[in-house]
């Protein structure tokens, strides 16, 4: 069993890795030049090139992938020669990058060809003074180079006396500035260190906005799961042991109908009936405070009901099929011929074996549940992960899509691992292999 578990875990890691590669290349490499999207169609190639450099998009894809996944501060640190650290901006509360120069936190800026060092003061402000002349190092072609951290969270390479023209996007349009560095490494800690970067849509760190969404979704999906599973398994088992009888027909036909009705249709009618006509339950998920989900549990009633309607049928059908198969098996025959009472045959002999097949499928089905969650969240305006992904995808907010998709995939894979464990627990053939 140890072997089986270890295998599952290793395979899980490889899977997550593959997913991250697929996701990154599909979105960032596969979808072309995003600077057009950011700068608009009127931008010139020069402006776009400048912007690509600032965003680090001129690096080769593999490097960008590595930066995205595991961060690049360590790589940048090897250029700057200083450890790079993040420190929260006391005003905005957002993390800023600094170089740790002998215990002092420093950044640099270039104004009119002159390099200045900004030293962070305890009150959060910074002290600007001209940088020492000895920071410059002679590069390969005789240029004087300096790798430092700029004020926008990049590790950058300045060339002494030769600032690059840089294009900056403002609400007033694109503006050219001098004094730019030659090369940028936009610093990031990387996904594995919980820094998926900034949202292109809001330019806020994705992690900050994602967290409360994930919490809401986990509650929604969790409640739905807790409602659906026992009910569906019970219905499936009841239908399975009564194969061919009217109760089986009723359950089977109802669950087929429920499965075949898309959740968005179910949801729309639930809203109409319970939210608008009867006004019994909140029609949409209006979160008047961040803890609304706890203050007013009724808020998730309709989303949960919608998810239940679709999932219930599917799981019940799976369980029924499994139960029918088990009830037809030789060991059930043995149990009956041993003269075991029917209840004992069902409960002791059949149920456990019948649950083995659906459990793994149910866990795989968590993917489906997450898909359903996307639809339900969009339908009900529920501020959760699914709606987040949807909004981000519609906007083309890659960092957000990547982070949220990685998260859902991780959740899906984790539940599958749990499913594997449950299967192992239920199935002695693996447990004692």
């Amino acid at each position: 069993m140890a072997r089986f578990l270890l295998r599952s875990i290793i395979s899980t890691f490889v899977t997550v890795l593959l997913v991250s590669i697929a996701l990154f290349f599909l979105l960032e490499v596969g979808s072309g030049d995003i600077t057009v999207k950011i700068l608009g169609v009127f931008s010139t190639e020069e402006q776009r090139a400048s912007y690509r450099a600032q965003l680090g998009l001129d690096a080769p894809p593999w490097q960008r992938y590595a930066d995205w996944l595991i961060g690049n501060d360590w790589r940048a640190a090897s250029y700057t020669g200083f450890p790079l650290v993040t420190e929260d901006n006391l005003q905005t509360g957002e993390a800023e990058w600094w170089a740790d120069v002998n215990g002092e936190l420093a950044r640099w800026t270039m104004e009119d060809g002159e390099l200045f060092m900004l030293t962070r003061q305890p009150d959060g402000s910074s002290n600007q003074e001209p940088a020492a002349a000895d920071v410059w190092q002679i590069g390969e072609n005789g240029e004087e180079l300096f790798w430092g951290v700029d004020t926008k969270g990049n590790a950058v390479k300045w060339v002494r006396g030769a600032g690059e023209p840089v294009w900056v996007l403002t609400k007033a349009g694109l503006r050219q500035e001098g004094d730019g560095p030659r090369q940028y490494i936009p610093l990031r800690k990387g996904l594995v260190r919980l820094d998926p970067g900034k949202s292109l849509q809001t330019s806020r760190p994705v992690a900050v906005t994602l967290f409360p969404r994930v919490r809401n979704t986990l509650i929604l999906a969790g409640v739905a799961f807790l409602v659906v599973m026992p009910l569906a398994l019970l219905l499936g088992i009841i239908a399975g042991i009564n194969e061919g009888k009217w109760i089986d027909r009723v359950i089977s036909i109802t669950s087929l109908g429920a499965t075949a009705t898309p959740e968005f249709v179910t949801g729309v009618f639930l809203i109409l009936v319970f939210g608008i006509w009867l006004k019994w339950l909140p029609a949409v998920s209006v979160f008047l405070s961040s803890d609304a989900i706890f203050q007013d549990p009724k808020l998730i009633a309709l989303p949960v009901l919608t998810l239940t309607a679709v999932e219930l049928g599917y799981v019940a059908r799976m369980t029924r099929a499994s139960m029918v198969e088990v009830m037809d098996s030789a060991y059930i025959r043995t149990a009956i011929i041993k003269g075991m009472p029917y209840s004992r045959v069902v409960l002791r002999h059949a149920v456990r074996n019948a649950l083995m097949a659906p459990i793994t499928i149910i866990m795989l089905h968590v993917n489906w549940l997450i898909g359903g969650v996307v639809v339900v969240e969009v339908l009900f305006g529920f501020p959760g992960l699914g709606k987040y992904i949807y909004d981000a995808a519609i906007f083309g907010d890659f960092n957000a899509v990547e982070a949220a998709a990685m998260l859902t995939v991780t959740i899906a894979i984790a539940t599958r691992l749990v499913g594997d464990l449950a299967y192992t627990f239920l199935n002695p053939r693996i447990r004692y292999a």
């Binding site: 169609v41 609400k171 906005t209 209006v286 305006g381 501020p383």
Partner: protein, 569 residues
């Protein structure tokens, strides 16, 4: 100061015209306030000029008790059925993007939250008329190059500081600072930089424009133009200091904004206490479809910017009030005149003749708009010269095309591809046009993409439908979209016409509405005659709010003016 108001000479001229019935009262008000006459004075003048047919209510123009129409210019209020009630919460559904520096705003939604906290020097009301707000009044020199802004006194920020010219100077400085990156910078380009903004005294600021511009008051109500406190550091959420009626309680980007009433607001309510009437405003981030359901189930009271389909869903719904406002928003059917066949005016004209405006309006906008001529000047614009709405004339179009086809040796129907985005009403307009243009000799293929896809190429397609937003003045959009300089930027049609250009330049420096209308009339004729666009109608926008709320109006640019809104107990 307000009592000894200097009246611009042109205002007095206008008053004569009003009396003579050559301009209507609304135009006069607009015109008078445009020239810096305070609203109070303007309404009085209007009353004087319009002795015969002015409704009784309007003559009693008391600032303390604004009557219906004039009050609308100041703040939208209905005549309350009973007494005004204080208290209550307004829950309004609206998306909530990131807010940092107001000068950098790019969404109305950001401004709608911020404008409850901070305020503007001027205010363009739901009727598209601009008047002083934080300003007591403004004065323009006769050449319209010098503008004097007189600040209202005694207004306090919510941190207790008084509003002075220093705050306004600071705010101008932010707008014009390149490193802030405000869109005001481009808008005020005629100002020529911060050096041309001059503090005369603590309550007076003078603007010395480099080139004449009549749109200064409108521009001061541009949504990023919130007046900031002089100590503002760049993040409005961290420093929500403003003169507005509400203070910021919570701002959760993408989720909700909670605003609480302030007790020492500078404007007084009808009951003699400071506004606002409401205790609290909560903006909740919901998308449109969810908003409609939430409004129907009573989970929110109001929704931001309802789409036509939302209007359709809610207009008959019991318990909500739907109010409409005419705008200069439109769906422009535009062609690239540098490309075949649109370089030939006969083809352009033929296409324009294929618009059955009434039908297109019905099909795409439920009839909720104002029919338009094929010019980018709207009836809500002050200088609009009224023209007959062209009729649907497929035969005429066919005749023109036959002529063209015979000359060029091409076959009819003419095969063209119409590009647009799958957004509010564009697909329906496109589909309707496809049907309508077939008897006119056009075989239109539709190329409808998601909005982003269209915006990626909107200036490049040869035939397309582009949505244009509302601009308060006629002279704002014409040079933007139909000039030589704008090619490579906003000029999506590449249409440049010397005569047109001259007229537009002239109009830009013409304050006299009557004179400008003369120019506009010619401009409209030129556009109709040989211009690159067809335009079937001007959109209306709606405000849809629970019937429990009073004093909430539709605004052409969807600006939320909520300080005089009250709800039934």
């Amino acid at each position: 100061m307000s009592n000894s108001e200097r009246i611009h000479p042109l205002v007095l001229q206008a008053q004569d015209k009003l009396a003579a019935g050559r301009i209507d009262r609304r135009e006069f008000l607009r015109y008078a306030t445009l020239l810096g006459t305070s609203l109070t004075a303007a309404t009085v003048l209007a009353a004087c000029g319009q002795t015969a047919d002015a409704p009784a209510a309007e003559t009693a123009a008391e600032p303390a008790a604004p009557a219906e129409e004039s009050a609308a210019a100041d703040a939208p209020t209905e005549a309350p059925a009973g007494g005004i009630v204080r208290g209550g919460t307004l829950r309004r559904a609206m998306t909530l993007p990131l807010i940092d520096h107001p000068a950098r705003f790019s969404w109305t939604q950001q401004a709608n939250v911020a404008r409850q906290i901070g305020e503007y020097l001027t205010l363009t009301g739901p009727d598209n008329i601009t008047h002083p707000y934080l300003l007591e009044s403004w004065e323009a020199s006769d050449d319209v190059k010098t503008w004097t802004l007189n600040l209202r006194q005694g207004i306090k920020f919510n941190n207790g500081d008084e509003l002075t010219a220093d705050d306004v100077m600071f705010t101008f400085g932010q707008w014009l600072d390149e490193s802030v990156g405000s869109s005001m910078l481009g808008l005020l380009s005629y100002l020529g930089g911060i050096d041309n903004v001059e503090k005369v005294d603590d309550y007076t600021i003078r603007l010395n424009l480099e080139s004449a511009n009549i749109g200064v008051p409108e521009h001061l109500f541009h949504y990023p133009a919130i007046i900031l406190h002089r100590d503002f550091e760049g993040d409005y959420i961290k420093q929500p200091i403003g003169t507005g009626a509400f203070t910021l309680e919570e701002y959760a980007e993408g989720e909700r904004a909670v605003l609480k009433a302030r007790s020492d607001y500078w404007q007084m309510g009808e009951d003699g206490s400071p506004l606002p009437y409401l205790d609290e405003i909560i903006y909740v981030a919901l998308d449109k479809d969810a908003s409609v359901a939430a409004l129907q189930s009573g989970q929110v009271d109001s929704m931001f910017q309802p789409r036509p389909v939302d209007w359709q869903a809610l207009s008959a719904f019991p318990g909500v009030t739907v109010k409409a406002a005419s705008t200069a928003q439109c769906f422009i059917l535009r062609v690239r005149v540098d490309l075949e066949p649109w370089d030939d005016n006969r083809v352009r004209t033929a296409l324009k003749m294929c618009q059955d405006r009434e039908k297109i309006l019905q099909l795409s906008y439920y009839g909720e708009g104002d029919l338009s001529i094929d010019a980018h000047v709207a009836p809500v614009h002050p200088a609009y010269a009224e023209k007959p709405i062209p009729a649907y004339d497929p035969e005429g179009a066919m005749a023109l095309l036959e002529e063209y086809a015979a000359e060029k040796g091409v076959e009819l129907p003419l095969k063209v591809t119409l590009a647009t985005k799958n957004d509010e009403s564009e697909p329906e307009i496109a589909a309707a046009l496809k049907e309508l243009a077939l008897p006119g000799g056009f075989d239109i293929t539709l190329d409808i993409t998601e909005p982003g896809g269209y915006w990626d190429r909107w200036t490049e397609v040869d035939l397309g439908i582009t949505s244009w937003t509302h601009r308060a003045l006629d002279t704002m959009v014409l040079p933007l979209a139909y000039s030589e300089e704008a090619i490579g930027a906003w000029n999506e049609t590449r249409w440049v016409d010397e005569e047109f250009d001259t007229l537009v330049r002239q109009a830009e420096g013409t304050l006299d509405v009557e004179a400008r209308r003369e120019l506009m009339s010619q401009i409209e004729d030129i556009m109709q005659d040989r211009g690159p666009i067809g335009n079937s109608y001007w959109k209306r926008v709606w405000n849809i709010t629970s019937t429990a709320f009073h004093g909430i109006e539709a605004h052409p640019t969807d600006f939320d003016l909520l300080y005089e809104v009250w709800r039934d107990a």
